[in-house]
């Protein structure tokens, strides 16, 4: 299938002109500008083995971006193998039949290019940005690992990558003050059977358990052309690119049908109050999290608007009260995180020294109550949309960003250009919808996580309410552990799935 749309330059030009015109017309009162969404040029080509290719031409610089998305992430992991999708991603850089271990990075870099791979809950991507004359080399390398990875995978490399990934976990999680907070919140928000309840990086125990057989099985199940989408943007000739795609990827056989996890909607019946101590921290922090909706639910746009209403700039509601008027915090954030089949809304506050978490919680709750009680002004909602519009045009500046936008739309929505519909829906959000979703989703069923320096449980927000101390044992100060064991106001449980750092 092939479809050509007009050039990126003209499309972006039109969008910018229309938006600029609207902005000029605004003057004093703020109105809803009529926004034309830029349409990237697109050629879609489907190989007989089921692989989809999305090609987007732009000859303004001799640069290409190549990004392959495999529709597999930590969501697809088996129990006892958390972190495996990401560990597997590492193995993809350790050579295939015609590429030596470690050669991938040296070859791409010697061509003047950059590369990486990333894994999240829903997908794994591999990308290169290169001078445009290196297109065929990129396709040769990507197809070699898709076709022949298992010819070079071996126990020695798996063991090495396992240690490297453990070091990645130490760097990002275990050696950071309160670094385990995200995985504690996810484990509390989602039931243990929900694949969004465990962290992408995985636990040390599960990483230790990953076997060569796991690698082989994972590759055969998920790393086939029928589970892959390749996007190429930039200085390409679509006809020749299609020939090269057929040459290098065409011979790779289609993979098995994939059974995807069914993820039920999540609500929390009641508030969960958690405390986390860290001996390396000097000041407390606090987050509030609610389960929300996934990518295919229309309410995500209004939930995103709530996030911006609360924390876009200094006039936003939480910033204004917490950072500027009451000066209880140095910074605050609020966002709705949307995955393919689930999501959550989170508010985080970084307090000033000596500000009480209890008082901060009271202020956050009063701000939320005000949003729910309304009215939300049209101006407040409009200012959010202005940033999104100009941000979208700027966000399509680089070839790699365009490749990611097209891949995301195709893999999750079946429409590479779905970002246009998304922006239209974002622009259509009304103040009434903002108010409705705040009432509907940001209610009593939430996770409140107080993070305090070790031994400072007195700083936990509303310490007289029951809470669970979820501190991994290795990080707790002896005094705090002893106090927790006596259980005065503290309900200590062993429900946490957080592993201890391996030493």
């Amino acid at each position: 299938m092939m479809r050509t749309v007009w050039s990126a330059r003209r499309a972006l030009l039109a969008a910018a002109l229309l938006y600029g015109g609207a902005a000029q017309a605004q003057g004093g009162a703020r109105s809803s500008p009529t926004v034309s969404v830029p349409t990237l040029p697109l050629v879609r080509h489907t190989l007989s083995n089921g692989m989809t290719a999305l090609l987007s031409e732009d000859h303004s610089a001799p640069v290409i971006a190549v990004s392959i998305w495999y529709h597999v992430g930590s969501k697809n992991e088996k129990p006892g193998r958390t972190g495996f999708a990401h560990l597997f991603e590492h193995m993809m850089f350790e050579g295939s039949q015609n590429v030596q271990s470690g050669e991938h990075r040296r070859l791409i870099q010697s061509l003047g290019g950059v590369f990486n791979g990333t894994t999240n809950e829903d997908r794994t991507n591999y990308f290169e940005v290169l001078p445009s004359n290196q297109l065929e080399t990129a396709l040769w390398m990507e197809s070699d690992r898709m076709a022949t990875l298992l010819t070079r995978v071996n126990q020695e490399r798996l063991d090495a990558e396992r240690e490297i990934v453990k070091n990645e976990r130490r760097l990002r999680v275990d050696n950071q003050p309160f670094g385990v907070s995200d995985e504690l919140v996810s484990a509390a928000l989602f039931p243990a059977t929900n694949p969004y309840s465990w962290p992408v990086i995985g636990s040390m125990t599960d990483l230790s358990a990953a076997s060569l057989e796991d690698v082989q099985q994972f590759f055969r199940t998920y790393y086939s052309p029928s589970n892959a989408t390749i996007v190429i943007t930039g200085d390409i000739d679509p006809a020749r690119t299609r020939q090269l795609l057929e040459r290098y990827f065409g011979p790779i056989p289609r993979g098995p049908a994939i059974e995807r996890p069914r993820v039920a909607p999540v609500t929390l019946p009641a508030e969960k109050r958690l405390a986390l101590e860290d001996s390396r921290a000097r000041l407390p922090q606090i987050t509030f999290s609610w389960p929300t909706v996934g990518r295919h639910h229309a309410d995500r746009f209004a939930l995103e608007a709530v996030g911006n209403l609360l924390s876009l700039d200094r006039t936003s509601r939480l910033d204004k009260v917490l950072v500027y008027d009451r000066q209880l915090a140095t910074s605050v954030y609020a966002f709705n995180n949307t995955s393919e089949d689930g999501g959550y809304f989170q508010i985080g506050v970084t307090p000033r020294p000596n500000a009480s978490l209890t008082e901060i919680e009271q202020v956050v709750d009063s701000v939320l109550a005000a949003v729910k009680a309304g009215p939300v002004s049209a101006d407040e909602v409009q200012r959010v949309k202005n940033y999104v519009t100009v941000g979208t045009i700027r966000g399509l500046e680089s070839r790699f960003a365009r490749a990611e936008a097209l891949a995301e739309g195709y893999v999750f929505d079946g429409d590479a250009l779905s970002y246009r519909a998304d922006i239209a829906r974002q622009q259509a959000v009304t103040p009434a919808e903002v108010q409705r979703v705040a009432r509907q989703y940001l209610g009593a069923g939430r996770v409140v996580l107080s993070m305090v320096p070790a031994g400072q449980l007195g700083q936990v927000s509303k310490p007289n309410l029951p809470y669970t101390n979820v501190t991994p044992a290795a990080a707790a100060a002896p005094a705090a552990a002893a106090r927790a064991a006596t259980g005065t106001t503290v309900t200590t449980t062993t429900t946490t799935t957080t592993p201890r750092p391996n030493r």
Binding site: R105, P131, L150, Q155, L171, N175, R280, D313, E397
Partner: protein, 476 residues
């Protein structure tokens, strides 16, 4: 660990795969690597210089691909120019520029940014053509007419101090802090750090004075990139910045010499319960205008500048001590010296082993392990063939040119860049490594769990100094 083991496993795995999936063996011979056609022509961005009537130079780079424009201001008003007893002043001034002007409150500024959907900062912005004049006006107002209201200053001071406390939770911040202190000396400007005392002492009068001294045309350079002609850019900037009055002082960049180098010493900062050690290894390097610049950068590309370089290949790929290791040159505006600095986060139990390997790599790049032709072309090609990637978007170009202006480098720098890099040989790279890297006179900083790492570090036989967060020796 041996090559033989790998080959054996490779053969077994290949046999298994072929048995299961014969269809993957097709007529395509994947062992034949494609030969790339010649690179497409690439024209470096042409920098056209204009001058406003008050002397402010403007670098303009035309790019009419998209209807967008990026603007950057390079202003010589950094921390080097603040009094030592007011450390933190320059950053406070910078933050306070957006806290209101003589004609706009901070909230009015925020509303104006939202109206054009563009976060305008005193240092610049990228926006669509139609918003350019409005964004320039807001940027100019913040730079030239800040109000510095007292209540906002009190809030910024309090937040600055809170953030400093939080930064000390981060092992990376602590390692850099100690590194600069022990490398340059505790009283050197690069080791200066804002404290309760220095930030607490800052008054509105200090802000007004600092702004009046340094935010002057002779300390300002502007960069405009995108859908605009030089004449148009100059005219629009003249309307906003042409009225910036003369006066103040001219920034200078003489700083005291770093303290003399000493035999390689490990400085250990205890951070209990750290599963990794945050490590820095480095030395003082030459100023940015050294003729050795190209050789140094290219040598570093072989040594530690990329994930495919020696340092990462050793510490990560071969030994799995870390998620990553790298090195680089921190350049400053001449006549200031640079810093050659490597960094990695090492699993605690392997801290000593990693340092042994690290110093082995330093000796190697100096000549013990000759730079191969493959490594030489790896480094040269990365820098030359990769040039188009550095100039893909107008925002990238604006930052690249601003960086040249910031460091006092001529804007035609890239015209001869590929040629100079291409002329380098392996001997040139080893030569600068020998000249500037010395495993006998390096500084090694370790921020980690002392009870875990100290015995191994002691066994290395180098001087070991236990230090506090400021890099000062702790009596033990």
């Amino acid at each position: 660990m041996t090559r033989m083991t790998r080959t054996a496993l490779f053969a077994c795995a290949a046999a298994a795969l072929l048995a299961v999936q014969p269809a993957r063996a097709q007529t395509l011979d994947r062992s034949q690597r494609p030969v790339a056609p010649p690179a497409a022509p690439f024209r470096l961005p042409a920098v056209e210089m204009r001058t406003l009537r008050n002397g402010i130079p403007v670098a303009v780079i035309q790019n009419h691909t998209l209807p967008i424009v990026a603007v950057r201001a390079v202003i010589d008003a950094g921390p080097l120019l603040e009094p030592a007893d007011r450390a933190g002043l320059a950053n406070l001034v910078n933050g306070m520029l957006a806290e209101g002007t003589t004609t706009r409150t901070a909230d009015q500024l925020a509303q104006a940014f939202a109206d054009i959907g563009t976060q305008v900062t005193p240092s610049g912005f990228t926006t669509i053509d139609q918003n350019l004049d409005r964004a320039l006006e807001l940027m100019g107002d913040m730079l030239m007419h800040p109000a510095f209201p007292d209540p906002a200053l009190a809030r910024n001071k309090a937040n600055t101090l809170a953030n400093l406390r939080r930064l000390r939770e981060q092992p990376g911040f602590l390692a850099d802090r100690v590194f600069n202190s022990v490398l340059f000396g505790p009283d050197h400007p690069y080791a200066r750090v804002a404290t309760e005392q220095t930030v607490g002492a800052v008054t509105r009068a200090d802000l007004v004075s600092f702004h009046s001294d340094w935010f002057r045309p002779q300390n300002v350079k502007l960069v405009v990139v995108g859908d605009i002609t030089p004449a148009d850019a100059a005219a629009r900037l003249e309307r906003v910045f042409g009225a910036w009055p003369a006066g103040g002082k001219t920034a200078r960049y003489e700083v005291p010499a770093a303290r003399p180098s000493a035999p390689t010493t490990i400085y250990l900062l205890d951070r209990p319960n750290s599963p990794q050690s945050t490590v820095r290894v480095g030395q003082v390097g030459p100023p940015r205008d050294t003729p050795d610049y190209y050789a140094l950068e290219t040598m570093n590309t072989v040594f530690g500048g990329l994930s495919g370089a020696r340092l990462n290949s050793n510490l990560r790929e071969a030994h799995a001590y870390t998620y990553g290791a790298g090195s680089g040159l921190v350049w400053r505006r001449p006549p200031q010296v640079s810093t050659f600095r490597g960094q990695s986060d090492i699993v605690a139990a392997k801290t000593d082993s990693a340092i042994i390997e690290w110093l082995r790599e330093v000796r190697g790049i100096r000549g013990e392990r000759a730079i191969t032709d493959t490594e030489l072309s790896f480094a040269r090609n990365n820098r030359t063939a990769g040039l188009p990637l550095r100039f893909e978007t107008v925002t990238q170009v604006a930052f690249a040119i601003a960086d040249l202006l910031q460091n006092g480098i001529p804007t035609n720098f890239y015209d001869t860049y590929a040629q100079r890099i291409g002329a380098l040989g392996a001997a040139d790279l080893a030569g600068v490594a020998t000249k500037y890297l010395d495993p006998q006179r390096s500084v090694i900083v370790v921020v980690g769990d002392r009870k875990v790492v100290e015995p191994g570090l002691r066994a290395l036989g180098m001087p070991l100094v236990i230090v506090d967060e400021n890099g000062n020796p702790v009596a033990s």
